[in-house]
Amino acid sequence: MSIVKSVTCPVCGCLCDDIELTIADGAVAQVKNGCAMCEAKFFSHNNKHRITTPLMRKDGELVPVSYDEAIQKSAEILANATYPILYGWSSTDCEAQRIGVALAEEVGGVLDNTAVVCHGPSILGVQDVGIPTCTLGQVRHRADLIIYWGCDPWSAHPRHLERYTSFTDGRFEGSEWKSYINKVKAAAGKKKLRSLERKGILKERHPHIAPSVNDNKPPEILNKKGRKLIVVDVRKSMTAEVADYFLQVEYGKDYELIQAVRALVKDQELDVEKVAGVPVEYLQQLVDAMTSCEFGVIFFGMGLTQSAGKFRNIDVAISLVRDLNMRTKFAIMPMRGHFNVTGANTVFTWQSGYPYGIDFSMGYPRYNPGETTVVDILMREESDAGLVIASDPVSNFPRRAVEHLVKNPLIVIDPHMNATSLVGDIVFPASIVGIEKAGTAYRMDHVPLPLKKVVDPPEGLLSDEEILSRILNEVRNIKLKTLEVA
């Protein structure tokens, strides 16, 4: 039995790197410090849902084959394709992503990343107006106003509050909520309570500390000193329950709301009484809280990127933060989902200039989301082969987009059986990055962190990096041969 400390958790964009694992008999026996998702992930390496051998679809059924056969066949498919798509990349390491770019370039394909259905719109917003942002420690040390807009860290990034925002002690700002949490802990008298809370099991016992939703009126608390937490969402999320103030906005009206706030920040008067269901006088109080803070920050999620307006919602939110910097210090940050989606965008950008949706079909990188992004290509039925790695588009794409993906040869690389591997034509099992393979990942604020190898992969299993390298080599061989023949 051994204990490994400072392990980076390969689940979400928080990339908590203080996980302590107990390893017994070559398996993870205990997980300390992690959230529920973290525990589930670390324990998943030896569950029964692993793929144990390469598979290939023959006569409609997936049957076991050797890596060599699967690699040879995959290389043939990709090398001969006219418009292949290479999608995924967010749950693997930068080392594999770098080879991914080379492979996409070599086969003249479209390289796209899960950001496209996640924070791709945020990137488009950033490309239009920039982004005043910071690393998470800056928030921890300095932020006295924290706003979660259209995101629910309690559910999607469970330790975000305790590591980086409201529940942390920084140099200039302390944790306002620690005492509260301690009180709840004492009352419950159980050690596991915090993780239970995260799972939402204890929610009924939570006293209603946030003001009533129906009221929606900004409470006194917006005038008090110390860290303040505001949640803006269309429904009362788990995070909203612990907020000082929950602002419920009418669905699909975030854009109007933020634009109105911008006008108020600029001391303009509005000709309306309500915006997105919120009285303008409440907005005025919100603006007062924003402009009077020392360091404010907005974290935003899918509530903005996926609802009506999409990247323009991000554009306007960033514009608001730019405006607020005229009055005080303010930052904004997307709550990136997959643990290394940021890494994928980072690696793709340094190698090709563009973060996702990169079309190499003309021999050089070309970028235009909407044109060179996978869902659009699938909906236009243009691709003729697909490689999916470290993601599950069959689960995550709307059905009609998946139809075309499945119509063409589909190569899947993943440690676990999922919807995509179930419908794939060639399925590669891979070691789990961050558990069975060391590498690098980028946190949501672009801080790079090392991923550790803590246990050995099942015997004979290759890593994403190795599988891709071998496919790339094979593709190069095929292309060389074709050249020689020509």
Partner: protein, 270 residues
């Protein structure tokens, strides 16, 4: 006149920026046939994808007969001459064009007339998203020229428009005229949401219904008519809004009074 007819139904995207009067001018049929195009990741020749006929008719310079919805960049950067397409056209039609005329008897895909500097594009059907809008990250929108759409227009049209005219006989989707700084847009039917958001100049005229106006626009006056271009006026009366107040508030939005009784509540601010 050169007539192009697609030889097949295309599956892959085709990049054919060579299809412009400027490039075609003075070329023999053989030379035309050898012009490079891309089909997916394969380099092809124009003659492999299109049947090319040269006729003695003078105008238009190029006619395309058939569906070319997968063919991108037709009329890229053209400076003169005329292209007529009898069918639907792919993305980036007339991108960066500075002169000449493109007529589409069909629909167009996204980015038609993107970063246009001059000339005329007339679309008899519907136009896709990003009509006359810039490339990602760029602030260079439509600089001049004219776009007429007989049908409807997708979202995000006329972003960063600086000058020129866009006329839409049908409806427009959301974010039309976003961050526009100048020029004129006339929507004869209904406008989508977030019309003119962040605009700092220019005017947008809506003769139909504008269901949702941004809260950051303020009613300035009511006006009977508004000039669209030389010799053409839209007849109102119109509510004239100034906005976007979140920016400089110097853009003008003209909204038909008759079609939008829900806006009468604004009149108390006059």
């Amino acid at each position: 006149m050169i007539v192009l007819t697609p030889l097949k139904k295309y599956q892959y995207p085709i990049i054919a920026e060579c299809i412009t009067p400027d490039v075609f001018q003075g070329k023999t049929k053989e030379e035309l046939s050898n012009l490079p195009v891309w089909e997916g990741n394969k380099k092809r020749k124009l003659g492999e994808l299109f049947k090319i006929d040269v006729t003695s008719v003078k105008s238009p310079d190029i006619t395309i007969i058939g569906d070319v919805i997968k063919v991108k960049r037709i009329g890229w950067g053209m400076t003169q001459g005329e292209i007529v397409v009898n069918g639907n056209v792919g993305m980036h039609l007339g991108k960066k064009m500075s002169g000449g005329k493109i007529v589409v008897n069909g629909n167009t895909e996204g980015w038609t007339g993107s970063q246009m500097k001059g000339g005329l594009i007339e679309i008899k059907g519907n136009a896709g998203d990003y009509l006359g809008s810039p490339y990602r990250g760029s602030t260079v929108g439509m600089r001049n020229g004219k776009i007429i759409v007989h049908g409807n227009v997708g979202s995000d049209a006329a972003i960063y428009m600086k000058s020129g005219v866009i006329k839409i006989h049908g409806n427009a989707d959301s974010f039309m005229g976003f961050r526009m700084t100048g020029g004129v847009i006339h929507i004869e039917k209904n406008a989508g949401t977030r019309l003119g958001a962040c605009m700092t100049g220019g005017k947008i005229v809506v003769s139909g219904i504008l269901k949702n106006i941004m809260p950051t626009f303020a009613l300035e006056l009511i006006k009977g008519k508004v000039k669209i271009e030389t010799g053409e006026k839209a007849v109102g009366p119109f509510y004239v809004f100034l906005g976007d107040l979140a920016e400089t508030g110097k853009g003008k939005l003209f909204v038909s009074k008759e079609k939008n009784p829900q806006m009468s509540q604004y009149e108390r601010f006059l």
